[in-house]
C-alpha cells in the first residue's frame, strides 16, 4: 500500500549559534516523510528538538540545512510573504498554551483564519465557524471570550480554529499539556474523529503516553536525531478507554464545571441567570451520565 506523502523533510539540520564558538545542534540531519491521514506522534525528552522540528515543519522557522516539501510545494526558499499565505491555507496550529485572541469571541477566533484568507463572505464564515464549534462540542459557547472559557474549552476552540481553512496538515505542540484529564479525553477523541472523517493529517508532539495511544505512527527525537519507533501503536481509542471510564471522566468533568461556574459567579464574571441556566444544563447531563452508568452496573 503506497500512501500519499503530505510533507517531506530532507536532511534537515538546525543550528543555533550562541556566543562566538558555541553551536547548539538542535536538529541533526533529519529526514522524514509524513503520510496523508497519519496521526504522527513525536516524543522525546525535553530539549531534544521537538519544538524546533515542529516550527520548521510549520514554516515558522527555517532550517540551517536541508529542504522541506509540503503538499508538493518546496517551501524552503519561499519568502516570508509567500509563507504567510501558505500557512493560512495548508497548516493548522494548536499550541500548548491555547493562544486564542483575547479580544475575539470563540466564534470570531474560528472565523479569523477564513477572514485573513478572505475567500468567504462574513455570513458563510460565521456559519462554517459555528459548524466547526459544534463539531468540537462548543456550540453553546459561541460568544464567550477566551477568558470566560476553561483551558480544555479554549483548546477545543483552538482546534476548531486550526481546521478553519481545511488545511491538510495540523501541527500540535503538547495540545493536552495544560488541560485536565476529562478535557484531554475529549480532545483526543476529537482528533481521532477529525482524522477519520475529515482526513486531516496530524503531527502531535507530546510527553504524555496516553496521547500517543491515538497515534498511527510514532517517532522519537533524542539530541536532535530522529528514531523511528517500529512498534506503532494502533490502539482504538474506544477500546483503550472503556465506556465506563469515559463516562466517569465526563462525570468528573461536569462536576468540575459546576465548581468553576460557582467561581465565575463569585467573581461576578457571569450573571446569576446565566449561572442558573448553565447549572441546569450541566445537571441535566449529569443525570444522563449517572443514568448511563447505572445501566452499566
Amino acid at each position: 500500500m503506497s500512501r500519499k506523502v503530505i510533507a517531506e523533510l530532507e536532511n534537515i539540520s538546525k543550528y543555533y549559534y550562541i556566543g562566538k564558538n558555541i553551536v547548539v545542534k538542535a536538529l541533526e540531519d533529519i529526514s522524514l516523510k509524513i503520510y496523508s491521514r497519519d496521526i504522527l506522534i513525536i516524543m522525546g525528552p525535553s530539549g531534544s528538538g521537538k519544538s524546533t522540528l515542529m516550527n520548521i515543519l510549520g514554516t515558522l522557522d527555517r532550517p540551517s540545512k536541508g529542504r522541506i516539501i509540503i503538499e508538493g510545494t518546496d517551501v524552503t526558499d519561499l519568502s516570508e510573504k509567500e509563507l504567510y499565505k501558505f500557512r493560512l491555507k495548508n497548516i493548522g496550529f494548536v499550541f500548548q498554551f491555547f493562544n486564542l485572541i483575547g479580544t475575539l469571541t470563540a466564534l470570531e477566533n474560528v472565523m479569523l483564519p477564513m477572514i485573513l484568507l478572505g475567500n468567504l463572505d462574513e455570513e458563510t464564515a460565521r456559519i462554517k465557524a459555528s459548524e466547526l464549534l459544534k463539531i468540537v462540542g462548543m456550540s453553546d459557547k459561541l460568544n464567550s471570550r477566551p477568558s470566560q472559557l476553561s483551558g480544555g474549552q479554549q483548546q477545543r476552540v483552538a482546534i476548531a480554529r486550526a481546521i478553519a481553512n481545511d488545511p491538510p496538515l495540523v501541527l500540535m505542540d503538547e495540545p493536552t499539556g495544560n488541560v485536565d484529564m476529562a478535557s484531554e479525553a475529549v480532545i483526543l477523541k476529537l482528533i481521532k474523529i477529525l482524522n477519520k472523517y475529515l482526513g486531516i493529517t496530524f503531527v502531535i508532539v507530546t510527553h504524555n503516553p496516553e496521547v500517543s495511544l491515538i497515534g498511527t505512527r510514532m517517532i522519537s527525537i533524542r539530541s536532535g536525531r530522529l528514531f523511528e519507533s517500529d512498534k506503532v501503536p494502533t490502539i482504538d481509542l474506544e477500546k483503550a478507554l472503556d465506556e465506563r471510564k469515559i463516562l466517569e471522566l465526563q462525570l468528573e468533568f461536569f462536576e468540575r464545571e459546576i465548581v468553576s461556574l460557582k467561581k465565575l459567579l463569585g467573581k461576578g464574571l457571569i450573571t446569576f441567570d446565566d449561572y442558573k441556566a448553565e447549572l441546569s444544563k450541566i445537571r441535566e447531563r449529569l443525570e444522563m451520565i449517572k443514568g448511563a452508568l447505572g445501566e452499566l452496573k
Binding site: 515558522l60 499565505k85 499550541f95 498554551f97 493562544n99 483564519p113 485573513l116 484568507l117
Partner: protein
C-alpha cells in the same frame, strides 16, 4: 482590500481599548489637551491680528501721527500741515497721563472740542459735547465710570495731573461716556479720557502748544509723499505712520506667539510620549497574540492594521475633542488674557484652517509616536513572539 478583515481588526482595536479604558482615556486626553492648546492659542492669535489693524485705524483715525514727549509743538503747526497736498485733516492734541479719583490711571486726550468727530468715538449720549474749550469737563470710559462708582453723567470726579513740574488737582464734570473700550486703551492697560484742549493748556501753562498731531490723508497712497514733505518742513520731527504702529503691535504679538508656541510644543511632546507608551504597552501585552496571528497566516500588513486602528482612533478622537475643546477654550483664554488687563476684546471665530491643522497634528502625533514600537512588533519573528511570556 480585505474589508471584512478591516471590520474584524476594528473590532479587536475597539475591544482592546475598552478593556484598557483608563489608559485609552488618558492617552486621548493627552492628545486632546495638546491639540486644544494649539487650537485655542491659534484662534486667539488670529483673532488678535485680525482686529489690530482695524482697531488701530478706527481709534486713531489717523494715517500719520506726530508725537513728542514734551509739549513743544506750536498749535498753529497743525493748521500749517493741513495745507500740505493730500492732507485732509490735522488735529493738534495733548496726550498726558493722569489719575482719576487719585488712583485710577488714565490717558488724557485733550482735543479742540470742534474736532471731537475726528476720532469717531462711540458716545453714550449722542452729540453731547463739552460746553466750551476752557471748562473742567471730561468724557470717560463707561467701564471706568462703573469702577469708580460715579455712574451718572453730570456728576463730578477728581482729576490729578502731574506732568513735569506741574501738579494739579481739580474737579471735572462728566459730560458724556465712551461705550466701546478701544484697542489702545486695552493695549496700554489703561483707559482714555477726553478733555477740552484749552483747559489742559491752561493747567499746564502751555497756551498754544501741543505734543501730538493726528493727520488724515484723502488717499493713503500719498502716505510716503506726505511724510517726506513733513520731514522737509520740520526736520527732526517724530513721525509715526499707522502701518508702523501695526507693525509694532504685530511684533509684540509675535513674541507672545513664540512663548505660547513653546507651551503647545511641550504639550504635543507629552501627548506623543503618552501615545508611544500606550502603544508599547498594548503591543507588549499582545506579543504572543502577534505570534499566533503570524503562525495562523496573518501578514505584516494585517498585523499593522490591527495596531494602526488603535492609533488612528486615539489620534482622531484626540483631534476631534481637541478641536472642540480648543475652540471653546479660546473663549476662556480670551477672558483670561483680558483679566490681566492688557488685551482688548478679541473676536473668536471658527477658523477652519486652525481646526484642520489641529486634527492633522493629532493624527500625525499619534502615528509618528507609534511608528517605532509598531515597526518592531511587525518585524518580530513568530517563534520568538510565541515564546514571549
Amino acid at each position: 482590500m480585505n474589508l471584512l478583515f478591516l471590520k474584524f481588526s476594528l473590532k479587536m482595536a475597539l475591544r482592546n481599548m475598552a478593556i484598557h479604558r483608563l489608559r485609552t482615556l488618558l492617552t486621548i486626553l493627552a492628545v486632546t489637551w495638546s491639540v486644544a492648546t494649539l487650537v485655542a492659542l491659534r484662534t486667539v492669535g488670529i483673532g488678535m491680528r485680525s482686529v489690530i489693524s482695524q482697531q488701530i485705524g478706527e481709534f486713531l483715525q489717523a494715517d500719520i501721527i506726530i508725537a513728542e514727549d514734551t509739549i513743544v509743538i506750536p498749535q498753529h503747526v497743525a493748521e500749517d500741515i493741513k495745507k500740505i497736498p493730500h492732507v485732509k485733516e490735522a488735529v493738534g492734541a495733548i496726550l498726558i497721563p493722569a489719575k482719576i479719583e487719585r488712583y485710577k490711571g488714565t490717558y488724557l486726550f485733550s482735543i479742540p472740542i470742534d474736532k471731537i468727530d475726528f476720532f469717531k468715538i462711540t458716545l453714550l449720549e449722542k452729540d453731547k459735547n463739552f460746553s466750551s474749550n476752557d471748562v473742567s469737563e471730561i468724557i470717560i470710559d463707561y467701564e471706568v465710570a462703573e469702577e469708580i462708582g460715579k455712574k451718572k453723567i453730570g456728576s463730578t470726579l477728581t482729576l490729578v495731573i502731574s506732568f513735569g513740574t506741574v501738579y494739579m488737582e481739580d474737579r471735572f464734570r462728566i459730560v458724556n461716556m465712551m461705550t466701546k473700550k478701544s484697542f489702545l486703551s486695552g493695549m496700554l492697560g489703561t483707559s482714555f479720557s477726553l478733555v477740552p484742549l484749552g483747559r489742559i493748556q491752561e493747567i499746564l501753562g502751555k497756551k498754544d502748544f501741543i505734543n501730538y498731531i493726528f493727520i488724515r490723508l484723502d488717499d493713503k497712497k500719498y502716505l510716503n509723499d506726505v511724510v517726506k514733505e513733513l520731514r522737509k518742513l520740520y526736520p527732526g520731527i517724530n513721525i509715526l505712520k499707522q502701518t508702523d504702529i501695526i507693525k509694532i503691535a504685530d511684533r509684540i504679538l509675535s513674541t507672545v506667539d513664540g512663548t505660547l508656541m513653546m507651551i503647545t510644543i511641550i504639550g504635543l511632546m507629552v501627548a506623543a510620549l503618552g501615545v508611544t507608551n500606550t502603544v508599547m504597552m498594548s503591543i507588549r501585552e499582545r506579543i504572543r497574540e502577534i505570534g499566533v496571528l503570524k503562525a495562523i497566516g496573518a501578514n505584516d500588513k494585517q498585523i499593522l492594521q490591527i495596531f494602526l486602528n488603535e492609533i488612528l482612533i486615539l489620534g482622531i478622537m484626540g483631534g476631534i475633542l481637541g478641536d472642540i475643546t480648543g475652540y471653546f477654550g479660546s473663549y476662556f483664554l480670551r477672558n483670561m488674557i483680558k483679566r490681566f488687563g492688557v488685551m482688548f476684546d478679541v473676536p473668536i471665530r471658527l477658523y477652519p484652517q486652525v481646526l484642520v491643522l489641529g486634527f492633522i497634528i493629532a493624527v500625525s502625533v499619534a502615528v509618528l509616536s507609534a511608528f517605532y514600537p509598531v515597526y518592531r512588533a511587525i518585524r518580530i519573528r513568530p517563534i520568538e513572539a510565541l515564546k514571549y511570556e
